[in-house]
């Protein structure tokens, strides 16, 4: 099984462990993820805040390259990139004059029908069916699944299972042997792109999320977005200064949780790259 793959910039840098863990579990599950050749940045928050055309043309170049490489399905683990690519595909399908402008700049006529999968959709379709066989070391932990904004909203486009209280990640974690706690901050915003420019706002918004997860007994927070991860993990000093208390709950990507449950080593899962140390107990089968 071979699928197209768009890592996006974060996965080559600040969230390398997300890349390492998705590649590691895909290998175990017999899936090859083939990178779009010469892909570029999706433009992220900066482009859609400042320049509408770039917010569409930058993702569209990647869609064009994926079509050239004859990819039918594209796996996009970063929730922010996924959101931009899906919104671009939709906007170009609805707006002919914009499609004409973008096609001319790309010098490529987009068919614009590639199937774009976020990490949860990818896991559900390709990994979940094999998961019972692949889990070697069940995760015996209470965890809080944190979805953030970009995987669930806008609801009309993202079509998440339940946009105020999604369950898709919770169900995957249960399959890994963990207990997914019920909590109200699943889809609250972490502060997103303000990590550098308004760090104190990230400290407050992420602080409320982390506090609720801990107060409800979570021993780890499970995420599927590099921005959420870096805000909850790397920005822990800002969180602790808002909460005025020390909080040591680790934040892991869902792909890292699967890697551990598959019996891969913490290093193969990239756990050593986190700021908040991860000590999760696993049970031997």
């Amino acid at each position: 099984m071979k699928l197209g793959f768009y890592p996006g910039c974060s996965l080559t840098g600040s969230s390398r462990e997300y890349n390492e863990s998705i590649l590691a579990i895909s290998k175990v599950a017999g899936i090859e993820l083939a990178e779009i050749p010469d892909w570029n940045c999706c433009g992220a928050t900066a482009a859609h805040n400042l320049n509408h055309e770039l917010s569409v043309s930058l993702p569209a170049r990647n869609l064009a390259l994926a079509e050239l490489a004859e990819m039918e399905e594209l796996v996009v683990p970063c929730a922010a990139c996924f959101n931009r690519l899906v919104m671009t595909q939709r906007e170009l399908n609805e707006n002919e004059s914009l499609l004409a402008i973008v096609s001319e700049k790309l010098q490529f006529k987009l068919k614009n029908n590639i199937k774009i999968l976020n990490v949860i959709q990818f896991l559900e379709k390709y990994v979940l069916p094999q998961l019972d066989e692949l889990v070697k070391k069940p995760l015996n932990q209470d965890v809080a699944c944190y979805y953030g904004c970009l995987l669930v909203r806008p609801q009309k486009v993202m079509k998440a299972d339940r946009f105020e209280d999604p369950m898709s990640m919770d169900l995957i974690m249960q399959k890994l042997g963990a207990k997914a706690i019920d909590w109200p901050f699943k889809t609250e915003c972490c502060g997103a792109g303000f990590s550098v420019s308004k760090t104190e706002i990230v400290g407050e918004l992420s602080g409320k999320i982390v506090r609720n997860a801990v107060d409800r007994g979570a021993k780890a927070i499970v995420v599927a977005c590099p921005m959420c991860h870096s805000n909850l993990d790397m920005r822990r000093p800002a969180i602790e200064s808002y909460l005025k208390r020390k909080v040591d709950v680790p934040v892991i990507y869902i792909t890292q949780a699967i890697a551990l449950a598959m019996g891969l080593t913490p290093k193969q899962a990239g756990l050593q790259r986190h700021f908040v140390p991860v000590n999760l107990s696993v049970t031997q089968n």
Binding site: C9, C41, T45, N49, K105, P154, K156
Partner: protein
């Protein structure tokens, strides 16, 4: 600005008709940064409805439009399905084009500009270059001095940028777009 100019432009460029808002206030109630905003989301909608030229100018000069994180909670809960985040994107672009960016939002705008500069130069984000460019433009030179070494030791930072090969294709996308150098 002429009466109703901004709301008509909003309709033209985003497809959103602000008249549909009936002021229930759900957007403001669910907004994670409403308590920090100078004008709250439901009030922004009301001001656009009024079409008053002074109100429209005040919106473009507001901090709120830059504090919006595009989390889309307002949109997902709006009983009229009004795409407020899309309106915010439009207001930001107008505010920038007209040189009306709120003083306290300059760091946010500097960051976004540095981000786009990095993409224009390399095709991909270069985090070290981005932060250096941002520090120079925002004047926040000492920020994050403690985070960078931790990122380096964890293998999370590239000292040199990764560049895409198709430079021509990339520059075509940026051609004719507003330059993102410091305003």
């Amino acid at each position: 600005m002429k009466k109703n100019e901004l709301s008509q432009n909003v309709r033209q460029f985003t497809g959103v008709d602000v008249v549909e808002c009936y002021q229930c206030g759900k957007c403001t109630a669910g907004c994670p940064v409403a308590d920090k905003m100078d004008i709250r989301p439901s009030v922004i909608m009301r001001m656009l409805q009024s079409g008053d030229a002074d109100s429209e100018d005040e919106l473009l000069r507001s901090l709120s439009i830059w504090l919006c994180l595009t989390c889309e909670t307002c949109y997902s809960r709006c009983p009229m399905e009004i795409d407020i985040p899309k309106v915010m994107d439009y207001l930001r672009q107008r505010s920038l084009a007209e040189g009306k960016v709120h003083k306290e939002a300059r760091d946010i705008v500097s960051f976004h500009k540095s981000f786009l500069n990095s993409i224009e130069s390399n095709g991909r984000l270069h985090e070290v270059g981005l932060v250096m460019d941002y520090k120079l433009h925002s004047g926040n030179l000492l920020q994050d001095m403690t985070t960078a070494p931790g990122m380096l030791s964890r293998g999370k930072l590239h000292i040199l940028p990764e560049r895409i090969k198709d430079r021509k294709g990339l520059s075509r996308l940026f051609k004719g777009q507003t330059k993102n150098k410091k305003s």
